[in-house]
């Protein structure tokens, strides 16, 4: 392999955003015909690196070199023309159009007067599909295909150019085991055609099955490359997490109260199955798992947005049915949602009105809203949560992410919920505000709230939780207490590895 020139090489890539060094001197190379895994925790810099590679972000320093030619990437389309193709986790296909139209979208072959040359289009497409050995043809409507086959369409798109490197971003996230086998076959075909593959995934099993080498990112910097057949899961895991954690483990132990919320055998279609847990007053229960593990869906069920097929939800020992968010709120279940701007706030409204929105009906004197009662609530929680805003009249959309999140938290605290659920408490929030939010969550538990924190960031879960529920593919894999949990065991649990004895 040493004599070959790399298909794609990154050299000393640096990218900083205000306040964050997202990528710090990252270098690695993919050889032709190699499957190269890129691993790292959420937030380690994988996505940023891919955005730099796709020309969505320009690097502050460093070079991208395609077959020994330094190249400036300006857009994903331009990157594709240079032979660098992305297969995204989230598919970007026009579902109403045919496979052929999707594959050649924007570059349909033409005849005179701008008419589409359908014959050529279908012929070219079928030639590509033949290489992939798929069961559908050029004229199939994409919306009729399974997710796995739609992914094949994305891959077929990649093959319309002379691809030098193909980047797969969590490609198996929504595939069944049988579909995975087909995908791996395609990857090995590409490999044999001399294409370099970058394979981004959290799933150890897959990584060890199909990759040749593994490069690890941690906190935005490159931590080394391992040859897959000479290493093991433990070594990779350590490389991924072995930093000096700036977030300590949760070690506070205050007295816990009664069980506030209990869930027994909750199931919902394919999303999650037989989930049971309970959370006490004064306790923070963390939910950790990969995207698609079912965490958010469980939260949505508790908040009345989704009906479960089976199982029971008990509040203070009483079985309840939660039919809508309004119902959940009236029963004392509150949710700080994952998508702050889309679900948490009315961005065009001012700070105070956002905070008092769920209880506006109770803040009236006679038929009218009492502005004094509203402002009193806002002032109290502005003080309590240290919300930095010039005043309550400030439009929420103008606040920083951290302060916006505090408004959402304040919105629920002011109603004294029985259970406070926080989904991705610090998504899109700068580092400084992050630890503030974390401390706030700990404080709330100390004050006797039952808190559920859902997060895809391990340090966060470790920092705030008293107990951690590890989820994989819709199931609870394991329940950890903060004393017994280790980063290794947690990673293994959410990667679907059940026994810890296997790795030694």
């Amino acid at each position: 392999m040493t004599e070959q020139r790399p298909a794609l090489r990154l050299e000393g890539i640096v990218k900083t955003f205000p306040g964050v060094r997202a990528l710090d001197d990252v270098s690695f190379a993919v050889m032709p015909g190699e499957v190269h895994a890129l691993m790292g925790e959420n937030g380690a810099g994988k996505s940023t690196l891919m955005k730099v590679l796709g020309g969505i972000h320009q690097p502050d320093e460093g070079r991208i070199i395609v077959e020994e030619v330094p190249t400036v990437m300006t857009s994903p389309l331009q990157a594709k023309s240079k032979g660098i193709v992305f297969i995204h986790q989230e598919l970007s296909l026009a579902e109403e159009l045919t496979v052929a139209e999707n594959i050649y979208l924007g570059e349909l072959p033409r005849r005179s007067f701008g008419r589409v040359d359908w014959a050529t289009l279908y012929a070219q497409t079928d030639a590509i599909l033949a290489k992939l050995k798929v069961s559908f043809n050029a004229k199939t409507i994409v919306g009729d295909l399974s997710i796995a086959n739609q992914q094949m369409v994305e891959i077929a798109r990649a093959l319309t150019v002379d691809a030098k490197a193909v980047i797969f971003d969590e490609p198996t996230a929504s595939l069944t085991d049988a579909e995975k086998v087909v995908l791996f076959d395609v990857i090995s075909d590409l490999q044999s055609q001399g294409v370099g593959i970058i394979y981004i995934s959290h799933r150890m099993e897959e990584i060890f099955k199909i990759t040749d080498r593994i490069s690890v990112l941690r906190d935005g910097s490159y931590r080394g490359t391992l040859v897959t057949c000479d290493t093991n899961e433990e070594e990779v895991t350590q490389l991924m997490i072995g930093r000096a954690l700036d977030l300590s483990r949760n070690e506070s132990h205050h007295a816990l109260g009664d069980v506030a919320l209990e869930v027994r055998g909750l199931s919902c279609g394919k999303l999650y199955k037989d989930v049971s847990f309970s959370v006490r007053r004064g306790e923070v229960l963390g939910f950790y798992g990969l995207v698609g593990a079912g965490r958010t869906e469980i939260v949505e069920t508790l908040f009345g947005l989704r009906d479960p097929d089976a199982g029971a939800i008990l509040l203070d020992g009483q079985e309840v049915r939660v039919s809508s968010p309004a119902d959940a709120i009236s029963k004392g279940i509150s949710l700080v949602p994952e998508d702050r701007k889309g679900q948490g706030l009315v961005l065009g409204m001012n700070c105070r009105d956002n905070m008092t929105l769920p209880q506006i009906g109770d803040l009236s004197s006679g038929p009218f809203v009492s502005p004094n009662a509203e402002t009193a609530i806002f002032d109290k929680y502005k003080e309590k949560l240290d919300i930095r805003t010039p005043g309550w009249k400030q439009t929420v959309g103008n606040l920083s992410g951290g302060n916006q999140q505090k408004i959402v938290i304040g919105k629920w605290l002011s109603m004294h919920p029985k259970v406070l659920i926080v989904d991705e408490p610090t998504r899109g929030i700068d580092v400084g505000s992050k630890s503030e939010i974390h401390n706030l969550i700990r404080e709330l538990a100390a004050q006797g709230y039952a808190v559920i924190v859902v997060s895809s960031e391990m340090p966060e879960v470790l920092h705030v939780s008293d107990r951690i529920v590890a989820m994989f593919a819709g199931r609870v894999m394991r329940m950890f207490t903060s004393d017994e949990v280790t980063e290794e065991s947690l990673i293994q649990a959410i990667s679907g590895i059940t026994s810890t004895d296997k790795v030694a």
Partner: protein
């Protein structure tokens, strides 16, 4: 001020464009015809705007909740015809509540479709525009309606009466504007209307019953239409069954001119009243300078386009943009 950049001018135009355009119109009209700003003419404009204004108050709720109501014109024809017909059959004291009940049912039906079934409001109300027109024609058998004994009834008070020298339609408009203005600005319901229009998902996540709020907005709009129909019937004491035709566009123009965003979440009753007056004065001015009545239809359309453009321009801070 010495060096105001092109961008600054764009931003000011975008934000204050409608008021600037209005000022230019007023000055222009006054120069051409000095009667334009005379007390008589001003009072006349306000009085003739009252019916449109009353309807615009209700539509303001619908627009702030993030929806449209294109059915108000034909619904107003319906109310007018119904109350005129019933007047001679069961007397005004029963005809009025009966007409209100029927109109509110129509509003509730639309509110059910848009609020609870979550159908697109443009499609629903455009369809209802046509359906209610058909309903009116069926009800009236295609005939115009007239009150037979025009002298022997107190029914004319709503459209032709006056108190303290002020015409009753203006009093009704002002009173209803005050009432609805307070409901929108001061009550929990009003706040929920803004939340639903500003971000319906976040409103749901805050426990607001979005469907019910939208439903109530349409009922409110229908109530205003019934009031407008009452004034119309009382003023003319007889009517064609197309009396409200095309008014939905004027109403929408007034609401948008007032600054309510078609995207929902913003606007006030006070601003809508301003929008109604702007539209009324412009349409009156066009007549006074001697333009044909029909020109109004073109001008109203131009005003709507201008207002929508400026609304979007104000959001992105400039008049022109390559990206949406």
């Amino acid at each position: 001020m010495a060096s105001m950049s092109k961008a600054d001018i764009g931003r000011i135009l975008a934000r204050q464009g409608i008021l600037i355009a209005f000022a230019v119109f007023i000055i222009g009209f006054t120069l051409v015809n000095e009667r334009f700003l005379s007390p008589d003419n001003v009072m006349g404009v306000v009085r003739s705007s009252a019916i449109l204004g009353v309807m615009a108050l209700g539509v303001t709720f619908v627009v702030i909740s993030g929806n449209l109501d294109l059915s108000v014109g034909s619904m107003m024809s319906f109310s007018t015809i119904v109350v005129l017909d019933l007047h001679d059959k069961i007397g005004p004291a029963l005809a009025i509540p009966a007409m209100f009940a029927m109109t509110l049912c129509l509003g509730a039906f639309i509110g059910f479709l848009v609020g609870y079934l979550k159908l697109n409001s443009l499609i629903v109300t455009l369809g209802m525009l046509s359906a209610i027109h058909g309903l009116t024609l069926t009800y009236s058998g295609g005939q115009n309606m007239d009150i037979v004994d025009k002298e022997g009834t107190w029914f004319s008070v709503f459209g032709q009466g006056s108190a303290l020298g002020i015409p009753v339609p203006i009093l009704i408009f002002v009173a209803l504007a005050a009432l609805l203005g307070i409901i929108l600005a001061k009550t929990p319901f009003g706040r929920k209307v803004y939340a639903v229009g500003g971000n319906g998902t976040a409103a749901t996540f805050s426990g607001i019953k979005r469907g019910r709020i939208v439903f109530l907005c349409y009922v409110m709009s229908a109530f205003c239409v019934a009031v407008a129909g009452l004034i119309q019937a009382s003023r003319s004491m007889g009517s064609q069954n197309t009396v409200g035709q095309g008014l939905e566009l004027d109403v929408l123009a007034a609401v948008i001119l007032g600054g309510a965003s078609l995207l929902g979440g913003s606007g006030t009753i006070f601003k809508t009243v301003i929008g109604v007056l702007i539209l009324g004065f412009i349409q009156n001015g066009l007549l006074l300078v001697g333009l044909q009545f029909y020109v109004q239809f073109v001008v109203t359309w131009v005003i709507i386009i201008l207002a929508v453009w400026l609304d979007i321009a104000a959001k992105r801070g400039k008049l022109w943009s390559n990206i949406a």
